[in-house]
Structures are given as structure tokens and as C-alpha cells.
């Protein structure tokens, strides 16, 4: 199956490991993966901060890069959420009917990684091996915007060697919230502190999630706390195999 990979600006620039892991999983499952070079960013940061007009160039570049693909996959629940639920709003605000139509054609073909694996490829066992204690935080936009439900957990539970530990109050937001983390740092950190406390309570070595942005926030707190708990993107856990040992 031919798949276009959307790296997301954050993944591309700050967390390329998660993107390479996504590529690896997709290729291992037999997909032919392309990286359309014209891609940039979904525009989410602009849109969610209220700069809809300034998000138009990003939306324009997104549809230009991905128009025509049946399957576009991104390792981020929040970027896919923004593409599916906000690109039309941005295009309309930009007053460009052509762009609105293009958004209508492209958005339905964009999938978050766990959705694509479970719903489109129909697999939950991706042949991964990861002999560690892991706890999973379901990020808000995956959960409540995309409604991915337990798909990431189903994927993780099939990983060989893994010990999945239940995260208390898992569905509570980690406190990242994009520019919220900068505009309201005190509340953001207070929420993150509660989240990382719950992570520590599980005894996990690795905190896993499907959004590099939320992981950046929680990981930043864990690193500052010097707890020795690593953060890993879902794709990075799914990418590892027994042969890697």
C-alpha cells in the first residue's frame, strides 16, 4: 500500500527518531512510504493560538503536498485532529473557496498512526519486541478529538516482552496545551506535576504517548526531576524487534 508520511514540523525538527520509527513500522508491514518534500506543518499552533489568517499558508502547503494520496499517516494525534477538524475553519477564514474544497478532499485521507495500523491495515501485532515496564498516557486530542479509543493500548499489548502498567487518572490532560504551556506556565506545570507523579507511581521505566508535543512537556518535567524515566513515542516502541537486540 502506498502511504504518504507526514512528519509534522515538531517531529521533523525536534523528534526525527519518532518519525523514522513510524517509517520503519510502516515499511515492515509492507507499505511503500513516500515523504512528499513540500510538506511543512499542519498550522495547529497558529490556529489554536487564534492566528487563523496566519495559518493559511501552512494549510495551503499541506494540501498541496498531500493531495491525491489515499493514505496519509502522521505520528501525532493532535496534528491529525487539527487537520480533520480545523483546516476547514482556517480555509474559510482565509476566504479561499478553492482551498476549502481541497481541504475537503485531502482531510478524510489523513490518519493518526494507531488508527491507520488498526483500522486500515487491520493489525494489532506489528511484530515488535520491547522488554520493559511501560505506562501509556492517552493524549487528549487522540482521545477526545479523534476518538482513537484503546487502539494504541491494543497495539502495545501485543508487543512481546512488554509490561504495560496502568496509569492512574490516565485520561486527565498532561497540561501541555500548546502555547498554553507558555501563556499559563504555572497551571501547566501544576498539571504536569500531577501527571508525572502518577507516572512515577506506576513504577514504569518508560512513559509512552502518541504525541511528541505532550511527551516534550512530560519528558521535560521528568528530566528535571532526575527520575530516570524515559519518554518514548508509540512508534518508537512499535519499531523495535527482537533482531535489534
Amino acid at each position: 500500500m502506498r502511504v504518504a508520511l507526514f512528519a509534522t514540523c515538531l517531529g521533523d525538527t525536534l523528534f526525527p527518531g519518532a518519525v523514522r520509527a513510524t517509517l520503519r513500522v510502516l515499511e515492515r508491514l509492507g507499505c511503500t512510504v513516500e515523504f512528499p518534500p513540500g510538506q511543512t506543518c499542519c498550522g495547529q499552533m497558529h490556529t489554536n493560538t487564534g492566528y487563523h489568517e496566519q495559518a493559511v499558508p501552512a494549510v495551503r502547503s499541506f494540501v498541496a503536498a498531500f493531495e491525491g494520496y489515499d493514505h496519509v499517516v502522521a505520528p501525532s494525534g493532535s496534528c491529525v485532529g487539527s487537520i480533520r477538524h480545523q483546516h476547514d475553519i482556517v480555509a474559510e477564514r482565509g476566504g479561499d473557496r478553492k482551498l476549502s474544497e481541497a481541504v475537503g478532499r485531502v482531510s478524510p485521507h489523513v490518519y493518526e498512526l494507531s488508527e491507520f495500523l488498526v483500522d486500515v491495515l487491520g493489525v494489532t501485532d506489528v511484530g515488535a519486541y520491547f522488554p520493559h515496564r511501560v505506562t501509556y498516557h492517552p493524549t487528549c486530542h487522540s482521545l477526545r478529538m479523534l476518538r482513537v479509543g484503546d487502539k494504541p493500548r491494543r497495539l502495545l499489548s501485543e508487543v512481546r516482552g512488554i509490561r504495560l502498567l496502568e496509569l492512574p487518572e490516565a485520561e486527565q490532560c498532561c497540561g501541555f496545551g500548546g502555547t498554553f504551556a507558555l501563556k499559563n506556565p504555572d497551571v501547566s506545570v501544576a498539571m504536569g506535576a500531577d501527571k508525572t507523579r502518577h507516572v512515577r507511581e506506576t513504577g514504569a521505566e518508560v512513559l509512552c504517548a502518541s504525541d511528541s508535543s505532550c511527551l516534550m512537556h512530560m519528558g521535560g518535567l521528568l528530566d528535571r526531576q532526575r527520575e530516570g524515566i524515559r519518554t518514548m513515542h508509540l512508534a518508537e516502541i512499535l519499531a523495535g524487534t527482537e533482531e535489534d537486540r
Partner: protein
């Protein structure tokens, strides 16, 4: 009503103080998680909750789309039933009408049923300056009034107080406005309730004027519906001879059939009960039963302006259940006072800027007081898309505000938008960033100067990768190198 400066600190400043108050965080965390779990349990009991929720949303949306018709129908029905309807454009007008109505009775005090609308317009203060004492009779409202505090929750205005704090307030303040608290009062809830009961009983028996709001106003019969848990509302609505009700124009429902839906949605969402302990319905004047002098003040106060906004008008569906507050992780940490308005939490963040505009710093900061986690939408019984509304109001903020900081941010955002508009520009920016990344290695960054210190004060920041994915792909997959 637009352009009013509420004179409050902005949300981030107020929240900073609240987050540091360990007692407050403890009180709030306990109270919200209890009520959150109660709600979840009773909602789970109903197989058709989602249908009920959709009906609630649809009925409200329909009513709002023909509000003028239903308001006129309501007025005609109230008048026919012996009541009088008054129209108030804003807070000042509503306060003037109510003050005048109380004066006409010759009384100088009134008992009050808990009401968001009267708080919104600052009625108690307006009455006080006219020499009229208005006594709150809801237990939590009484606590707040005695302490000269501000409410911090729609349903439980004193949620930020615990039992021993309440005992102190009763002991200190009750004597000043009526029956004092017993000298040996403990913080046992039964004793606290008993003290409040004695204090209030004296006022109920004396009062000849009651002031209320309404949870719903039924257009077909001109009926007001008040739901509550303590029976104080029933006392206020039935004992005094004069009743004045201040009702927001969005409280209308067309018929009793519609009301039925909300009487299921509201108690489960707000107190986590299957049914409200007291549901009082008042349909005009009945000889020898209840008030003989009945007035309804219909309040606009910014609502028709909100109604004109296609996205924003959703907020007017709100039935003030407070479920969105109880699930909001930001509310739980920041507390209600940080929102600087009688409407705190997620609903406050979308309602206050619409009622008062975004000209002032404090109201403009409210749409940003959210991580957009979406928990509020999931519990809202009338399915208000609060996250979408927040983003919509953020957009309004960026378009309407023109201060230096707003312009600076706008310019930065435009610059960044320009970079994201073209992959070549982004690629160049990434090459510069990855140079920095090689400098830092893969360690996290500990401290950065302002404004990034807002991140690094408590969190390490990731260094840019020494090689972006794009660079890696070009090197490995476009024929110019081997895959590693």
C-alpha cells in the same frame, strides 16, 4: 456591555497565586473529584444519555433561533396569569427595575434564592446602595455572603472553603446580620447546617419580598422553574407576598415537553442526582397561594450580541450545571476566582468574553485559560463545543486587540506562518536549528532566557535534532546516500 473592565488581574496572574495555595488546591481537588465521580455514575445508568444530550442541544438551538417569538409568547402567558414582565437591556437597567420594585413594596429587605443572573448584574450591591438588604438563603451562598467573599463555582459557590473554614466564618460573622452561631459550634456538617437553618429561619419568617432567578422559563404557560436541593428556594417562592425574578433571555424553553428533557439532564450533570430534591414551578398568581405580586425581569446584558455570533451563540445553550467546571483540569488547579467573573471554568472562559468583549486584558486572557483538552465538551449536557468556541474567541482576540504585545506576537506569528508556508524556507530554518542541536548534543536544555524561561523554569527543553527527518530522508532515500 462591551468594553467594561472588570478590573481583575489576568487569568495567568490570578492562577499563579491560586496554584501556590496548597489549602485551596486540596479543597478543590477533593470537591471536584467527588462530584465528578458522582456524575459519571448516574450518567452511566442511562442507555440513552447521548440521545437526551442531543435533544437538549437541539431544543436550545431551536429556541435560540426564534428567541423573539418565544419571548413574546412567554410575556403574553405571564401577563395573562397575573404577572408583570419587564425588559432590561443591561445590568444597570435590571438593577434599577428591581430596586424600584422592592421600594414600591415599602420593604427594606428581601430573601434571595441562589441565582447566577442576579450575581452577574451585581444586584445585591445595587440594592445595598439603595438601603435594601438582600439575604442569600442557599447555604453555600450564605457562606460567601457572610465572608464578603466571591463565589468560585456555579453550583457550589463556596467550594474553595472546607468545613473548619466555614465554622470560623459562621462564628465570626453570623451575629452581625441576625441570629448568631452557637458558641460551641463544631465543624460537624450537621451542626453547621443547623446553625445556618436557625440563622435563615428568622429571615424567612420576617421577609415579605423574595428575589429569584430561574433555571427555565416555559414559554407556553409563562412558568418559571427553579430547581434546588435545600428547600430554601421553595420557601422564597411561596412564603413572601412579593416575588421578583431576574431571568436571562436564554433560559426559555418552548413547552413542558421540552422541559422534561432538561429535568433529566440537569440534576445528573450538576449534583450527580437522578432528580432534583426540589423542583418548584410558578405559573403566575394564584389567589391565596404564593406571591400575589409577581414580576419577571428579562435580562439581555450582552446576550443578543452573543446570539449574533454563529459559533459563539452556542454558549447561550448553557443550563449552568457546572459539569464542565468539575472535569476541567485547569479549573481544578486555578480555582474559580482566577476567572474574574461570576462564570468561572470553561463556560466562563467562553461566556465572559462574549458578554463583556475582549478589549480588556483580563477578559482577553480567558479564552487562553485552557489546554483544549476537550473534557468539558464530553460532559456538557447540551453539547456546547467549548474547545472550538475557545479557539474561535482566540481568533477574535487576535483580530480585535492592537496593543504593542499583541502586535509583536502577531508579527512573530506571521513570520513563522511564512516559514511554514514553504518547505524550502522551513528546511533552511531547520538547518540552522540543527547546527544548534549539534552544539547542545542530545542533552536537554536546562535554562533559557525570557520568554522561553516560561518553559525552562520547571521543564527541560529538547535540543533541536542534529539532523532533521527531512535531512535524513534526503541523505538516505533520495539517491544521495545509503540508508543507515
Amino acid at each position: 456591555m462591551s468594553g467594561v473592565d472588570l478590573g481583575m488581574p489576568t487569568f495567568p496572574d490570578a492562577a499563579r497565586q491560586a496554584v501556590r495555595d496548597a489549602q485551596l488546591r486540596h479543597n478543590l481537588g477533593r470537591a471536584t473529584s467527588t462530584i465528578r465521580n458522582k456524575r459519571a455514575a448516574v450518567v452511566d445508568e442511562l442507555d440513552d444519555w447521548e440521545q437526551l444530550r442531543a435533544s437538549g442541544a437541539a431544543i436550545k438551538a431551536h429556541t435560540l433561533s426564534r428567541l423573539d417569538t418565544y419571548l413574546e409568547r412567554f410575556e403574553a402567558a405571564v401577563t395573562a396569569a397575573g404577572g408583570t414582565v419587564h425588559w432590561a437591556r443591561d445590568a444597570a437597567e435590571a438593577n434599577r427595575i428591581v430596586t424600584e420594585l422592592v421600594r414600591e413594596t415599602g420593604e427594606t429587605e428581601a430573601v434571595k434564592v441562589k441565582s447566577m443572573a442576579t450575581q452577574e448584574i451585581g444586584l445585591n450591591e445595587a440594592l445595598a446602595s439603595a438601603g435594601i438588604s438582600a439575604w442569600e438563603t442557599d447555604l453555600a451562598e450564605l457562606i460567601v455572603q457572610l465572608d464578603e467573599d466571591r463565589p468560585s463555582h456555579i453550583l457550589v459557590p463556596a467550594i474553595h472553603r472546607n468545613r473548619s473554614e466555614i465554622r470560623e466564618i459562621f462564628r465570626r460573622e453570623m451575629a452581625g446580620s441576625g441570629t448568631p452561631a452557637p458558641a460551641d459550634l463544631t465543624d460537624d456538617p450537621v451542626q453547621l447546617a443547623e446553625a445556618a437553618r436557625h440563622h435563615l429561619r428568622e429571615k424567612f419568617l420576617r421577609a415579605n419580598v423574595a428575589i429569584s432567578g430561574a433555571n427555565f422559563a416555559v414559554a407556553e404557560t409563562g412558568s418559571l422553574v427553579v430547581v434546588e436541593s435545600e428547600g430554601n428556594g421553595r420557601m422564597c417562592l411561596t412564603m413572601p407576598d412579593n416575588l421578583i425574578s431576574v431571568v436571562g433571555i436564554e433560559k426559555l424553553v418552548p413547552s413542558w415537553r421540552d422541559l422534561e428533557v432538561f429535568l433529566q439532564l440537569l440534576p445528573r450533570s450538576s449534583t450527580g442526582e437522578r432528580m432534583n430534591p426540589y423542583t418548584s414551578v410558578l405559573s403566575g398568581v394564584t389567589e391565596g397561594d404564593g406571591p400575589s405580586n409577581f414580576h419577571v425581569v428579562l435580562l439581555d446584558n450582552g446576550r443578543s450580541e452573543a446570539l449574533a455570533d454563529e459559533v459563539g451563540s452556542q454558549a447561550l445553550r448553557c443550563i449552568r450545571c457546572s459539569a464542565c467546571l468539575n472535569v476541567c483540569p485547569v479549573y481544578e488547579r486555578a480555582g474559580g476566582h482566577a476567572y474574574g467573573s461570576v462564570y468561572p471554568g470553561p463556560i466562563g472562559a467562553v461566556l465572559t468574553p462574549q458578554l463583556y468583549g475582549v478589549e480588556s486584558e483580563d477578559t482577553a486572557s480567558l479564552p487562553y485559560a485552557s489546554t483544549l483538552c476537550g473534557a468539558c465538551y464530553d460532559v456538557c449536557p447540551v453539547a456546547i463545543e467549548i474547545p472550538e468556541l475557545l479557539v474561535h474567541l482566540r481568533n477574535r482576540t487576535t483580530r480585535e486587540r492592537k496593543g504593542w504585545f499583541d502586535r509583536l506576537t502577531g508579527t512573530a506569528m506571521r513570520g513563522l506562518g511564512w516559514v511554514f508556508g514553504d518547505s524550502k524556507r522551513l528546511g533552511r530554518a531547520q538547518r540552522i536549528a540543527s547546527l544548534g542541536g549539534r552544539l547542545f548534543g542530545r542533552r536537554g536544555i536546562g535554562r533559557l532566557p525570557w520568554p522561553m524561561s516560561r518553559w525552562t523554569d520547571a521543564r527541560d527543553a529538547p535540543a533541536p535534532a542534529p539532523e532533521s527527518f527531512r535531512q535524513w530522508w534526503e541523505r538516505n532515500r533520495t539517491g544521495s546516500g545509503d540508508e543507515r
